[in-house]
């Protein structure tokens, strides 16, 4: 069931910033909806009167206080122009109405143990939930390390922002145009080997093959691993049943289909039945 604090509202675009190379940052006011929102929770966003029928899910990227130039009570969404929905979003200027539903789903929770090393693993636009999470960790006096991969240097939005704030950002690109050539699993494997007795907690968001690969490594080494999942969905609040993923809702139980929008989007690696 949708959380009781979920709100369905229309609000104007405050800013829609072209970050270049197909990446955009959309800002709108969501004062009361943002107040209780967790990093990696999401909004369904639609454009009233358009011929795009369904709203699209977007992870919250910035909550009030995340970005120094963010307006009071405003939130930010990071998106990459990919299909009809995101193309439409990119055409909107300040004042254009947005049809918003949120906050939705379950977000990231930081590890209880303050000595646990926090590692973000992001693939391209999958970096979206990490700014709000990092800002929250900073307020708790904690830090994070990031492994940030993409197909090419073009697909690493907010890289400078992360570099300024994370303890370290290890970049990988499939084509070698920036950082180490290859996938995020390369540097991750080195990190896991070099961890010694240190407790790690991975927070992962990116394309499904990356999530699967990282989850597999985490499970093999017994490291805590939270995955922020993405799936096509029609409603965002649990009724269309379109966004399910195969899981073990009970450990060692049969494979079930759980909803990314309600049971997720953040799920533990051991829950997945990929």
């Amino acid at each position: 069931m949708a959380s009781p604090m979920v709100q369905d509202f229309t609000t104007p675009v405050l800013r829609n910033v072209d970050l270049g190379r197909g990446n955009w940052l959309l800002e709108f006011e969501a004062a009361s909806a943002a107040a209780e929102m967790r990093p990696a929770q999401f909004f369904m966003i639609g454009v009233p009167g358009s011929d795009v029928l369904l709203r699209r899910p977007f992870s919250v990227c910035g909550l009030p206080g995340t970005f120094s130039d963010g307006r009071a009570g405003a939130v930010q969404i990071l998106y990459r122009v990919y299909g009809r929905g995101t193309k439409l979003l990119a055409s909107l200027g300040p004042g254009a109405p947005l049809h918003i539903l949120g906050p939705l789903g379950h977000g990231f929770t930081s590890p209880q143990d303050k000595n646990t090393k926090i590692v973000f693993v992001a693939g391209g636009i999958g970096c979206a939930p990490f700014p709000a999470f990092l800002a929250e960790l900073e307020r708790e006096g904690r830090r994070a390390t990031m492994i940030y991969g993409a197909r090419s240097a073009d697909e690493l939005p907010l890289l400078d922002w992360f570099r300024e704030r994370c303890d370290a950002v290890v970049v990988t690109t499939n084509d070698g145009s920036l950082g180490a050539s290859g996938l995020v699993t390369g540097p991750l494997e080195q990190m896991l080997r070099g961890a010694g007795g240190e407790q790690l907690h991975l927070y992962v968001c990116g394309p499904t093959p990356m999530l699967k690969a990282v989850a597999k490594m985490a499970l093999a080494t017994g490291i805590a691993c939270d995955l922020a999942l993405e799936a096509p969905m029609a409603c965002g609040f649990g009724v269309c049943l379109g966004c399910v993923v195969p899981t073990h809702a009970q450990p060692d139980g049969p494979v079930t289909f759980e909803r990314v929008c309600v049971e997720g989007p953040v799920m533990r690696a051991e829950r997945m039945a990929w």
Partner: protein, 313 residues
């Protein structure tokens, strides 16, 4: 003028307004409590209920298409026992009409669910899902031809005293024949239409978008098809029709009512706007006021002749 009368009756089932929510788009109703008061609805139709829980089809399950969407959920549901033990008691506190949508893979499964619902307090009617296109067994198999539909309707008619609505598939040669079979076997109403079977292809990957290959098409794209079928069925049977197919606004609902539907169901619109059914009901009230019509019942099937009866230029 006084507030127009929106109440209608589908056989013995009285609805405070003619707008229900369609099965598969409204969960078990409780999911919508953050957005609306269920008492504002004419009624709600539950997700299809089977004898045992179903986990449904693997993903991908949905894709947006022009003015619509394809779904192949595969009737994932909690099963009749959990519905009766957990969902229905929570619904009883709300002043709304609950219609239970029933699905089985065999005739015996349909009968089993109908019998269990027969003893349940708080269920106003049963809607037989003989038109789901997304399961290997059951569903549309029973609604594809008049003889099969007659058999399943007869069996369920014996299994329950509750009013029986039969939800028709549009994926048939002549929907009027199917509707007549439902009427002949004692159905109290027909609801139409379920989704149209369709397919979308990911051209880059050269594969079907949906894991099930095909899915059911819903949304505004199917509205003219559904209105046409409503009009055809209106002239073929005398039992009430519950019309549906891409209703997003009160004007859309009016099309079905004028074509002969006594009530309507709002489906895909619930995904886009959780208050869609309430908005449609309120829009109907406004329309009736504006046109000085005292009761929505005056409009059921009140379609005038086309502008030029002899027509082609």
């Amino acid at each position: 003028m006084v507030t127009p009368d929106l109440s209608v009756a589908i056989g013995s089932v009285r609805l405070k307004n003619p707008v229900l929510t369609a099965s598969g788009t409204f969960g078990y109703g409780l999911e919508f409590l953050p957005f609306l008061d269920l008492a504002q609805l004419g009624g709600l139709v539950t997700k299809g209920l089977s004898p045992r829980p179903r986990k449904g089809n693997p993903p991908e399950r949905i894709v947006e298409t022009p003015a619509g969407m394809l779904n192949a959920i595969g009737l994932q549901n909690v099963g009749i026992d959990v519905f009766l033990a957990e969902k229905l008691p929570a619904l009883r506190g709300h002043d709304t009409v609950v219609v239970a949508n029933v699905f089985g893979e065999t005739e015996a499964e349909y009968v089993e669910v109908c019998e269990k619902l027969d003893e349940a307090a708080g269920v106003a009617a049963i809607e037989l899902n003989v038109s789901c296109p997304n399961t290997e067994a059951g569903g549309m198999v029973f609604g594809n031809d008049a003889a099969s539909l007659a058999r399943i309707t007869r069996a369920c008619r014996r299994a329950t005293r509750l009013p029986l609505w039969v939800k028709l598939s549009p994926n048939v040669t002549d929907i009027r024949e199917i509707a007549k079979a439902a009427e002949a076997e004692g159905a109290d109403a027909v609801s139409l239409v379920n989704t149209f079977v369709g397919m979308a292809i990911d051209v880059e990957k050269r594969r079907p978008v949906l894991a099930n290959v095909s899915g059911g098409l819903s949304g505004p794209a199917i509205r003219p098809l559904a209105v046409w079928m409503t009009w055809q069925v209106r002239r073929a049977v005398t039992i009430p029709i519950v019309g549906m197919g891409g209703i997003m606004t009160a004007r859309d609902a009016m099309e079905f009512i004028l074509a002969g539907a006594t009530a309507v169901q709002v489906g895909t619109a619930n995904f886009v706007n959780p208050r869609a059914a309430v908005d449609v009901a309120e829009g109907l009230t406004a329309w009736l006021k504006e046109h000085n019509v005292a009761s929505v019942r005056e409009l059921v099937g009140a379609l005038a002749s086309p502008p030029t009866a002899s027509g082609c230029p």
